[in-house]
């Protein structure tokens, strides 16, 4: 079951869901709109290596915005810290953003129960596109879970700002 907007608001008030900062104006009938934070990371090596910590470069967005190039992957982040110890969060782009040809996440909309922090956005644009800090870029929905809950204790807990992939920490080294 997916939570309704009024239930999301209620859940924030009794701490079943944490959204900080929270604004009632960003509540949809079944989701919450999240905004684009002001830092973007890009990988600087020509080839990204899944088994290495890849060097990145940070760009700060100002009010003039920044043009995202189609051949580049940008790691952004939500302004809001969002999480729940009870519901499963799913992050998607907003339709207004999709219609600009901007993909906000790649292949992984499903979050973990117990993760709290700013969500990293995986931004890839079909066309050159100018984006602005603070624009409502994505939406998070919450689903009721079934079964006993183990809270997230993973490597991105309490994330602040965009997080580069840490796949390298999970590398299985064969003997």
């Amino acid at each position: 079951m997916i939570l309704t907007g009024p239930e999301i608001t209620k859940a924030v008030s009794d701490d079943r869901i944490r959204i900080d900062p929270f604004s009632a104006e960003q509540v949809n009938p079944n989701s919450y709109n999240v905004r684009l934070g002001d830092t973007l990371l890009t990988y600087t090596d020509e080839v990204v290596d899944a088994y290495r910590a890849n060097p990145t470069s940070a760009t700060r967005l100002d009010e003039q915005g920044l043009v995202l190039r189609p051949d580049q992957l940008y790691l952004g982040h939500t302004v809001e810290r969002v999480g729940s110890d009870e519901y499963v969060p799913l992050l998607f782009g907003r339709s207004s953003v999709g219609r600009l040809g901007l993909f906000v996440e790649i292949t992984a909309p499903i979050g973990d129960i117990g993760f709290h922090g700013q969500w990293t956005l995986m931004l890839s644009s079909v066309r050159p596109l100018r984006v602005y800090p603070g624009m409502k870029i994505g939406q998070i929905m919450f689903f009721v879970s079934k079964g006993e809950i183990d809270l997230y204790e993973g490597k991105y807990q309490a994330a602040a700002g965009p997080q580069a992939s840490r796949y390298w920490r999970d590398r299985v080294v064969s003997a």
């Binding site: 939570l3 309704t4 009938p29 907003r94 219609r99 040809g101 079909v126």
Partner: protein, 174 residues
Amino acid sequence: MILTRRAVTEAISRGEIVIEPYDPARLSPNAYDWSLGDRIRICDGDLDAALPTPYQEVTIPPDGMVLRPGILYLGVTHERTSSERYAQLLNGDRTVGGLGIWVHVSAPLGHVGHAIHWTLEIRVARPVRVYPRMTFGKIIFLETFGDPASYQSLGRKYRRTGGIDISRLHEELT
């Protein structure tokens, strides 16, 4: 919880889900298989979230149209769907994905109260020919938890659409 074929059928007969045009043969075990409308918009310029998107709108001819990588296409579902009770999730299907076509990947949620032809955000991995009214994806219906809110009562943009919508994000940025 996702509605099964039988639950969708019953919800349609009670008027809790509306699909127009509706063809029972398009129901699959837990989804409705919708089709591609015959109008499509081509966006091949530089875009700005603070400005309306320039585009060219064409009719997909009966013998098809080749979609090309690097271009954003805005299509539309042939069907209009609505429900005041269930949330809706719309995606492409695995057959279309297997052709290298992304359909509406970034915003699959239809909020309770949406009554729309869905605007489709389409990009392709390789040149691929598509045809009007071809089966293009699935829509599923979800039960909700909590007091309901409806798009119809919130005055949101896109709440009733009959065709393809370009992004109206610029309205929020002025």
